[in-house]
Every structure is written in C-alpha cells, then in structure tokens.
Symmetry: C2
C-alpha cells in the first residue's frame, strides 16, 4: 500500500461517549415489577425474573434449600415433565436456567424476538406452576451431594467454606455454604421445597427484566398475558444476620496432610452493596488486590514469586458480604505470604496510594465499562442488580464519573474505615506440620488447628 493512506490514520482522542441503554419501569396488574431496556441491535431478547428467594431464606438446618428450589423449577410443571419442558425450550432455540444467589432467585433465557411470546408462555409456566416431582428432587439432591463431596476435596472450595465459617457469627446464614452442607441437603424434603416456593415465589416480590428487541408496551402486554394470572403479595422481608464472629485476629489451620501447597484466605466481614462508600472501596480494593497490577499480586507473584496469583475482593450482597484476600502458595512460603498480605493491608491504611496507582485503577474500570454491557444478557443482568440492590436509576449513567471522582484521600479514608486488620481471620488449608510453626512465629494471632472436616484438633 502507498504511504498516502497514512493520512487517514485515526488519532487517539477523547473516548466517544458511551451510554448505558435507556430503560423504563412498569408495574403489572398483579404487582410484578417490570424493567425494560429496548435495545434493537439484534432481533433477540433476554428475560430475567428475579424473585425474593435467595439463600438467606433457607431455614436453619435446611441450608441449600433456595438453590434446590431454583434448580427444581426446570424439572416439571403441572402440564409437562422436565424432559418435555427442556425439549420445548430447545425447539424455540433457547434454554431455561435458574439459580439462587444469597439474595434472590434468578431465572433467565435469551431468545429470538420471533419466539419471544411462545418462550415467555413456557417461562411463565416454569416459574409459576412447578410440580416439583419427588423423583427429580431425589436425583437433584444426589447430584448436589456428589458435588459437595467433590468440592470438599478441592482445597479451594474447602478454603472458601472454612473462611465463611470462621468470619461470620455462628447464627449468620453466611457462615454456612450457599449450596448447604451434606446433612442439610440430605434433610430437605418435598414439603420444604413446596413451602419455600409458596412463601417466596410470589408476583408481589418479583421483578422481570427484559433487554433487547422489544418495546416497553409490548413487553408489558406479553407479560400480562403470560404472568398475569400469577398471584401473591410481596413476601415478608428477611432479617439477615451478617454479624462477625466475635473476638480479635485469629489464625486457623485446617489439615490437608502432606499438601505441597497451602490455600490462604485472609478475611473479615465487609460492607453491604448499597453502602455510600461503594465507589471509594471499589477503587481501594482494585489497588490493593483487585487488578493484575494490584499491590498484593505484584508483591506475592512478581516480587516474591510465592504464587501464580493473589487477589482481594469485597463480595457484594444486600447485607455485608466478606472482604477476602485469596491465594495459594508453596507450603514453605505460607507464613511469609501471610506476612506480606497483612503488610499490604496495613500499608493501605497508613499512607495514601500514588496518583499513578489511582489513575491505573480508575482508567481500567472506566475503560472496561462499555465492554461489560455488550450483550442483552449483560444489560439485563445489570438491571436486575440495580433492582436487587436498590441502586439509583442513574447508577449506570453516573458510574464512570463516580469512579473517576475518587481521590487518593478517599482511598486512604476508605481503607481506614473498611479494612480491619485487628478483626481478620487468617485461614490456611495445608499441612500443619509444615505451616503451624511459622504461622505462630508470625505473631498474627492465636493459631488453632482443625482436622480435614474443620473440627478442632485436640479438643
């Protein structure tokens, strides 16, 4: 090619303005809240139904029930069995998926516009008239128990479970795994499933989000047709206990004999998603351990070569989810890596980050923002979160400005307010013979030993 074409080379300049899609709210005659984002790029629509049926609704001793109820929705309705349901969704070029997270039950599908009405009828039947066949419940329970067994053999899954166990007060639902333990899952009966469904899956507590090739009026009409006969007022709100386990910093070593590696979690109870410090904390965590170029990752991975990767996160929930630093290191590096994690948390609270660190974090978050919401599924999920967490309708339009307005002083203050070195729980899954001594020598708190099931050793 000739050099003349260089004249057309685009110059880097200001980002073209990006705007999150417009959306509108409506209410159906039966109380269902509707949020619609008409996005007509492609002839497809994502539908997400959010019910007030998260794992925080699990009764004591039935942990995992909300997850199981969500999974059971697809197993059959009054008029057809699970196989027929799956087949009919497949015939419409889509599939139904459902799960429960801590706060809500979520059901979703993405379908072409031409099949939307038929798919919505099927989607509504699945959500509003499930039959919960006993045979399928037993099958799903067995499947879940096998998964739990598998998860416990993986140090990563065990570490996350033990972290929650040591961080939260025993009476908190958050102290036990979202999908439940073996005893709880085994105890779940068809009656439990029916009771949770009846109590929590109700028109009054449900929001349906539609994003894609549909107008608000059409969405409303389609939903009146498919979901209109569903009833039920909003379920009673749940008082979620997110209290920390009492006491000062402690170290917990859970036995994995002869493990060449240790899984490390350093954690305490964080803050609720709706907290006014959300943006400051998010930027602070990005610098601490949220990005590849974060302090904890550069320290543990690049400077000390203890690990292939280390990260920190605030796990956002309606109530206070945990703040957790996670990594895996060679056994002999366990205490040294823990010391570095504690040092990075302390440094975050004792001196401001540099302007360069701030800019890296904010420009990353600002830069990936439009990439995050490319699909109708991503847009619908974002809007569902808006509803679940009660965020302001202007949230997405002001997101980048909110991120970019965070200062190094904000970050320091957020670290001082929301990182609590004195309350940390240091949880290590590893070989006690190798790691207990060095961890005790760290002087980071009293060290307790546990067997592979998490029961205290020597008691």
């Amino acid at each position: 090619m000739s050099t003349a074409s260089f004249a057309t080379r685009p110059l880097p300049g200001e980002p073209r303005p990006y705007a999150f899609p417009r959306f509108e709210r409506r209410t159906l005659s039966n109380g269902i809240t509707l949020v619609v984002a008409p996005v007509h790029r492609l002839p497809i629509v994502t539908v997400i139904a959010v019910t007030d049926a998260g794992s925080v609704a699990d009764p004591l001793g039935r942990e995992g029930l909300a997850s199981l109820v969500a999974a059971m929705l697809a197993e059959g309705t009054a008029s057809m069995d699970g196989e027929m349901l799956a087949l009919r969704f497949e015939r419409l070029g889509t599939s139904f998926s459902a799960y429960a997270d801590w706060d809500v039950g979520v059901a979703s599908m993405t379908v072409t516009r031409s099949h939307l009405a038929d798919a919505l009828a099927l989607f509504a039947e699945t959500l509003t008239a499930p039959s919960f066949p006993a045979r399928e419940l037993e099958r799903l329970k067995a499947e879940r128990l096998a998964e739990l067994l598998q998860l416990r053999t993986e140090p990563r899954g065990l570490a996350d479970e033990m972290m929650a166990h040591f961080v939260y007060a025993p009476e908190s639902r958050f102290a036990r795994p979202m999908a439940g333990g073996a005893a709880a899952v085994e105890a779940i009966t068809a009656r439990d499933v029916g009771e949770l469904y009846t109590a929590r899956y109700r028109a009054g507590g449900t929001t349906i989000v539609m994003a894609g090739d549909v107008s608000t009026d059409d969405a409303l009409a389609l939903l009146e047709e498919s979901f209109g006969v569903w009833g039920g007022s909003a379920p009673a709100p749940i008082a979620v206990v997110d209290a920390p386990s009492p006491g000062a910093r402690t170290v917990h070593v859970v036995t994995k004999a002869d493990a060449p590696q240790s899984e490390i979690r350093v954690a305490h109870v964080g803050i609720p998603r709706i907290h006014p410090d959300y943006f400051r904390v998010t930027v602070m965590n990005a610098v601490l351990g949220g990005l590849f170029s974060s302090r904890i990752n550069l320290n543990l991975r690049e400077r000390n070569a203890y690990t292939y990767g280390a990260r920190s996160e605030f796990d956002w929930r309606r109530a206070a989810g945990p703040f957790v630093v996670s990594t895996a290191v060679a056994s002999e590096a366990t205490a040294a890596a823990t010391r570095e994690i504690l040092a990075e948390i302390d440094r975050m609270r004792s001196e401001p980050i540099t302007e360069e660190e701030l800019t890296l974090a904010t420009s990353y978050m600002s830069g990936v923002f439009p990439i995050r919401y490319e699909t109708t599924a991503a847009i619908a999920t974002a809007l569902a979160n808006l509803v679940v967490y009660g965020l302001d309708d202007s949230y997405f339009d002001t997101y980048r400005a909110n991120i970019e307005s965070v200062t190094t002083t904000d970050v320091l203050e957020a670290a001082q307010r929301h990182l609590h070195p004195e309350r940390l729980r240091i949880v290590v899954i590893g070989d006690p013979a190798e790691v207990a001594g060095p961890l005790a020598a760290l002087d980071a708190g009293p060290v307790s030993l546990y067997d592979a099931e998490g029961s205290p050793l020597g008691s």
Copy 2:
C-alpha cells in the same frame, strides 16, 4: 392496566431478518491478511491475531510446545518484562490473552476505540518481539506440569486423553494431549521455544481480524503502523497425520480402583471441518447426541436414569478430529450404558430420523444463530474460524439456509458415511473388578485392561 393494551400485543411472526456483519479482506504490505468487520454499535473493538502455530507444529517429544510459546508471549518483550506488559494493557482497560489450539496460535484483546492505537502498538510488540525470559519459561513449565498432574486425577481429563490415545495411530500428533505430557513439557527448552516461534510466527502466515468500531481503512492504517515492520514469509505447511489406530472395534478399561462412577468415551476418527458433508453431519449429530433432547441424552438420562447427561460431538479441526460420545455413569450401569450408546449409533445408520426430530434440530440451530454473534469478540472469533478453516466468505450468510435444507435422507446418508460402529474405540475409566466382566459380556469387541497410567496390565 386496562385490557385495551392487549391490542398492542405483538403477534409471533416471521423472524426479522438477521444478517451477520459485513466484512472485508485486505493484505498488508508485509503479507499479513486483514479481515475487518466494522460494527459501530458500541465504541469497542476486538482484535484477534491468528498465526500458523497450532499444536500440530509441535515436534515429536515436545508436545505442548506451541501452547507454551503462546503463553510465553505475554511474559516479556525486548523493551519490557511481563509485569510491565500486563500493567500497560490494564492501564488501557484491556488484557492480552493468547493460546494455541490444534491448528493455530490465537492472540486477542477487546479494547475501547479510544485506546485502540495504543493497545495495538502494545499488542504488536507482544506478538512480534517476545523475549521469552528463561525464568518465566521455568515458571510456566512448572505451572503446566502441576495442571497436568491435576488433570490426570480427574477422570474426565484422563478419559479424554485415553480416548485420543486409543483412537489415533501412534504417529498422529492427535494421539497425544494438546498441552503435552509431563515428559514432553519437562523436555522443552528455551531453544525449542525460540525455534518454534521463529519458524511459525511470521507475517506471511498471520491473519489479523478486527471487529467493532473501526473502518477497514482505519484498521489497515493502524496495522501498517503497528505491525508493518514485522517480516517473514508464510511458514511451510504441516502434513498432519490424522490416521486412525488400526484394527476393528475394541474396548479399553483404564483402572480407577474403587471408582463408584465410570467415565465412558465411545469414539472414532471423524472428518475435517471443511468436509462437504459438514451441515448434514452437524444436524445428524444434533439429533444423535448434540442437544439436550438428543437420542443419546434422552435414552441414558431420561429413559434409563444412568447419568446426569450424555452427549456426542464431532471435534472440528483442519484435519480429522474425533467423533466422541461422552458420559459418566454409576459403575454398575457401565455395560448397559455402553450398549445403549452403540444401539443409538446403529439406529442412526439403519433408519431415517423423524421429521419432528429434524425440525427440532434445525430450528434450534437456526434460532440460536443470531444469539451467537452478539459481541465483537464472538464476531471476530467467527471470522478467525472462517480463515483458519478456509470457509467461503458467504458462509455466515448461507448458514441458516444450509442447515434448513438438510433432509432426513441427508441425515441417514451422513450417518451411514460418517459413523463407523465397526471402528469404534470404547474407553472406560473405572473399576475393572466391577466393569470388565459386563463389558466383555456385551460382545462389543476384545476388552483390554490398563493401569491408572494407561499401561497395559499383565504385559
């Protein structure tokens, strides 16, 4: 709301026409092929560089080299180390990722339009001037060896590896894992890495795909600037051996003592991606085992409750990848499940599928088609595949018509031509004490036993 609004209810009708984005081809002055799909929905661009450096280029005894070379690209260049590289990509709100599949090396990033020029400069340096630091090579090798060890403890990974081992002739690269075995990875030296890079990463053999908010002229100018100085003619084509292991149907039991479950693979060598029967075979496989409502899944999961799921696939490569049926069942159901799989393969070849089965498969594939290409990354990946497999430029525009034109007779003929019951390798990872007897009684072929490493027992 009033019932009047029902008047606005949309009626299901013909699908709105969906069109895959327009794209253009260009050639850079140094021989790089450029494919650009300008899609201006959002201010973002995906860039994919495809090099003729897939795992089929691995020398004998150095299996895994191409994968390692791709992973090493991000570990440093002439002017900066891996940490600085990652940091600079992160600052631009993106990240560099690279891997090798069987046929090609693939590097990619998705970035906002405003950062495209800067990110392309970095992307080009990463691809064209890697420094392959020795310390990072050792770290990546250790990481890879740990992954291989982990994979072998999972019956699923072991089953896939053993399937390839028994299906392909020993001299085929496809007989050994893409990421290599422990001995091969350990043997890889810095010189091996440099040699494969020099031989296969060359402007002449490279295609760059850009999809998103960029015009073809701008893309060409940006690439001349960033990649223009890169040289090298197209690398020599590789003669890929995809011959099957010789002989008639056999059964191979690889020991996993006391396993409560068996992993089952029933497989033979399939056909190359570019085969004229591609659409017929794809529809045939959808009915046989590609969909939830496929015969194999309904038989094993719904009718017999042997398993949580069973599927079949043709693994598409430039040369002939395998046709594989995969499932996991309780040990005592191993022989019965195998019998049902063989029966479904036979039935596919002996009688036509029903019109209903055909419609389900074709309407599913036609229905999900627009949903597949929602993101710039998905569009760019689709175009990269077009290049890798040498498909026609009209491929995406004619896809739905090609799928919908497949008849039940086509499916029967495709099954008769491309399913080979007499050549199958039946591979079971399980407890020989439990499964060997019943498998022998099936009379599906001679049964051989192997230890946990895949070495023949009793020899």
